[in-house]
């Protein structure tokens, strides 16, 4: 068992991994990584390694779950047994079931579901390695997988968490900060529509601290949004450059 650090922010105001309070962990996003899927994406953020695949819109199974006026989004958030320190059973835990629901609800507002009645869109999120903030990284990658599949969307959904650690509001909690800090506020956001599609919190924050955390998280979201857009374009820009040579 690791020892608990005494302070999460040192005297110079730097966090355990050397970041400033308002700094994001480096993030890498890649699109189109699973050839069989209609759309897919991969994200690495901190030690998080998450893969997302999309199948659909396609025939609804089972048929009685289909809706007459729109498509149904099914979402499964799942952690691999080796993704965490102590092996996790492959059976879905209550946490995974709740996260599957809130992640689905964070993405639904972005998709033009009304265009494909009686169909289903299957979204599979596999967390290969977890390091704090998996739900946010999952949402960010899932948006890309949906866009990659050609499903029309109102906007990309991007997510980022803020929290409180040693009396300071910080952006993008890593694992230790998540476990030992005093608050965690994950936020999913659609920048073009100024829409918060996921919001949760555990911990204790005053009203003012909460406001600061939400604003900080949205700021982080906007930064990641730019990386998302580059990842979507990367496939095509790469080909264009090759051809122009």
């Amino acid at each position: 068992m690791n020892e608990k650090p005494e302070r999460l922010i040192d005297k110079k105001g730097l966090r355990l991994d050397g970041r400033k309070p308002d700094q994001l962990r480096p993030i890498k996003l890649e699109v189109g990584v699973i050839p069989n899927a209609d759309g897919s994406a991969y994200v690495e953020q901190g030690k998080n390694k998450i893969l997302v695949g999309v199948y659909g819109p396609r025939d609804a199974h089972p048929k009685h779950l289909a809706l007459q006026d729109r498509s149904v989004l099914k979402c499964r958030y799942h952690m691999a047994p080796f993704s965490v320190q102590e092996r996790k059973s492959p059976a879905p835990s209550r946490r995974e079931i709740e996260l599957s629901k809130v992640i689905r609800e964070s993405l639904e507002p972005a998709i033009f579901l009304e265009l494909y009645p009686r169909t289903m869109i299957d979204l599979c999120i596999e967390v290969l390695q977890a390091d704090g903030g998996t739900r946010c990284a999952s949402i960010t990658a899932a948006s890309l997988a949906l866009a990659d599949s050609g499903i029309p969307m109102r906007d990309l959904v991007v997510a980022c968490a803020a929290g409180k650690v040693d009396d300071t509001v910080v952006l993008d909690l890593m694992d230790e900060e998540d476990k030992l800090g005093s608050a965690d506020v994950p936020v999913a956001f659609m920048p073009s529509l100024n829409a918060v599609t996921l919001l949760q919190m555990d911990g204790k924050l005053s009203q003012e601290e909460f406001e600061a955390a939400v604003n900080l998280a949205i700021d982080g979201c906007r930064q990641v949004y730019a990386v998302q857009k580059e990842a979507l374009k990367a496939k095509y820009v790469g080909v264009k450059e090759e051809v122009d040579e």
Binding site: F112, P117, T119, M153, R154, Y236, K240
Partner: protein, 236 residues
């Protein structure tokens, strides 16, 4: 009335393309006064209409479309055809045979079996029913030979080219018959497997580079090189 993207610039979902008195074209939507992209693709302006030529999208049937599909299921009163699209099509016996017909499963599989490919035309489709197709017209029916490939449906117009220039050139250079299903499935029938392969490779390359310029020339060059290479091999 500002626009925020250059023509042929790549936009992604949620990008604000134009603000003001514009009309939302393909793969865009209007919210308040702004036109936003709903798919990744190249921006196109046509007077007041702002559209996105999508780099990837799936096929939604329209009556009159020519499509190529695979028999996925044989039911009691017809075949279910996989169109490589969100919706499966239904083919009734009356749309296949010219004579009246007793619906028995054995007879149906003798006409069209699981895995058979058909070139068909979309008869009807709306939001409440799966599309109905027919093969009871000249030029349609079961496919017995050739090579089949799938590309994203939005690239089919690029394979056709301006006034059919690209597809005529490919047919000429390879000597192949090519049927383009609007659902992104393409049938290539040639005199030799090598000729068919050349056509297939050309089409796949068009799909990958469709958003670049000078494509027709590059594909023509590629096919000419291929043709002379094959002739060299033959003459050895």
């Amino acid at each position: 009335m500002p626009t925020f993207f250059e023509p042929k610039q790549i936009a992604t979902p949620g990008d604000l393309l134009a603000d003001g008195d514009y009309v939302a074209g393909e793969n865009t939507y209007k919210e308040e006064q702004g036109i936003y992209a709903s798919r990744t693709g190249l921006v196109e302006y046509d007077n007041k209409k702002v559209s996105i030529v999508a780099l990837k999208a799936f096929y939604i049937p329209k009556p009159g479309d020519i499509i190529i599909g695979t028999v996925a299921e044989i039911g009691f009163n017809g075949w279910t055809i996989d169109l490589n699209a969100p919706y499966e099509a239904f083919l009734r016996p009356s749309d296949v045979l010219s004579r009246p017909f007793k619906p028995q499963r054995d007879e149906l599989s003798q006409v069209l079996d699981l895995g058979d490919l058909v070139v068909a035309k979309v008869v009807s489709y709306d939001r409440t029913h799966d599309p109905q197709i027919t093969v009871a017209e000249p030029g349609l029916g079961k496919i017995t030979r050739g090579q089949v490939l799938r590309i994203t449906p939005t690239k089919i117009p690029r394979v056709i080219g301006k006034k059919g220039s690209m597809i005529s050139m490919i047919k000429q250079e390879t000597g192949c018959e090519i049927i383009l299903g609007l659902n992104g499935v393409v049938l290539v029938t040639g005199k030799t497997p090598e000729a068919e392969q050349a056509a297939v490779r050309a089409i796949l390359r068009i799909e990958e580079e469709s958003h670049t310029s000078g494509l027709t020339d590059r594909i023509t060059q590629m096919l000419k090189k291929e043709k002379s290479r094959l002739e060299d091999v033959k003459s050895e």
